[in-house]
Symmetry: C2
Subunit: 310 residues, 2 copies
Amino acid sequence: MYTIGIDVGGTSIKAGLVREGKIIYKCSKDTDRLGGADKLVEDIAYVVDEIMKSNEITKEEIKSIGVGIPGVVAKSGEVTCVNLGLKNELLSKKIQDKFENIKVVVENDATVAAVAEHEYGSMKGYDIGVMLTLGTGVGGGIIINGKPFSGAHGVGSELGHVMISSNYYDCNCGNNGCFETFCSATAIIKYAQKLISENRESIILGYAENNIKNITARMVFDAYREEDSVAGEVVNRFKKYLAMGIVSIIHSIDPEVISIGGGVSNASDIVLDGLSQMVNDNVIFNGAGIPDIVIAEFKNDAGILGASAL
Amino acid sequence: MYTIGIDVGGTSIKAGLVREGKIIYKCSKDTDRLGGADKLVEDIAYVVDEIMKSNEITKEEIKSIGVGIPGVVAKSGEVTCVNLGLKNELLSKKIQDKFENIKVVVENDATVAAVAEHEYGSMKGYDIGVMLTLGTGVGGGIIINGKPFSGAHGVGSELGHVMISSNYYDCNCGNNGCFETFCSATAIIKYAQKLISENRESIILGYAENNIKNITARMVFDAYREEDSVAGEVVNRFKKYLAMGIVSIIHSIDPEVISIGGGVSNASDIVLDGLSQMVNDNVIFNGAGIPDIVIAEFKNDAGILGASAL
């Protein structure tokens, strides 16, 4: 038997055929962001058909279809996803209608990534785990008793919007002090731009061809390795709040493991350096140990693998 | 069969004999804060013996002894409690040694209060619940899948030390911005003292016999009812951060119910007024509903009842 994992992103719908935890075939299709739920279901059906045809397999050989979407999946199954123009859509039912007898599960994409890491990657063998994806925003996925946990209304594990301090700019969500305004790639870029626009000298500006709009988180990490002082300030601020955010997560969920993924985690040497010590120094009680803090194993394939394991 | 619940506090050890969810006998003993673990175990044995003698029951009729303590219970069973001078003490084993064949369970006191509310009170019938006790500090108790949850190392549910914003004074734990520095009775008192010491006029000062050291949270709430402007500012600040803290809890745990207890909850009319609306307005997605926000049912008996149900 096979499972199919589908990773619906803002730019593409990636799908994979999975057997025994390995992706054996992949295909994708551009996301039609304006097409609404019906077009999305049609496109998902298209990639599933494409997988079956190319691999000469029948519906009967597919155990389940898992779908990760960048939005909130309410306990009722209703999906809301601002970026894709979905509001309270019963997505899993609509997909199910196309593929009778195949189990269909739809989940939030960060939760899906947590499932991938828990089933096959950095959180394997742990019972309670938290996944943080540090990218454009900060995503969160929670595993409790070995299972994905997203709370009573599907809004739990939105860890990027846990507030941790006050910040000099508001979050897109309208609140101030959200974790993602300190620890996303966007937050890193914004703070570098702020310091440089205050006329601080930095090699980052050269990397960005003298246009602060071109700055990326990677440039900041590269400059940090060259001991650039602006990069030092930006990275130290990022690390301080990352530690504080993790301490807050410990004081609520206290997982066995925290896995850090997303684009920012590519600078794993910088992200992990001293981080556990900072966390250990700031939890209210560390006598019983703190969570293992690790880097996520899967990058682009986490969505397909996790969705296939839902 | 009976169960015994013991609530170890900083000033007294309260014990109760419980049958079918009702306390049928109570007794207590002063806490010997300097006596260490052995004295505490001796005192617990004393109140248990006193319960058995006064009610003419034998060890065989007692199913379990539950103990709530104001500290951290590590997954190993080791108890650390700064206020009682306990560090990594295997308290349940020591108590067990005194009462062979009776099951002994030791838990954090806020978790115990959550168990009481979940078994018999305001959170009954809910699967995922969070208890917030707003007193001298802010305590937290979490119920997941109907069971108390305190994470992998016993430090989860220390919700008073989740950071939510930056504050004008540091928390006792050494961090800045902890929930309890905004929403405990202590936080309310401190902010009223701060405003009054800045020469703001307030009837609170009269209530406190012209000594700001006498100010209590209750005086602030009483003055709020009299439309005192300082009290208004203090209460509005408290409510704003209470809503933010609850929003953060939703973005991580997203419970079905949040129960507010502790001394501050005595002003339930003021605490609840508009609170759900503020929370609803600030969660990133409210289309699927937000938790019910309620006032805890048990005051002084929560510790005994909850411990007896562990």
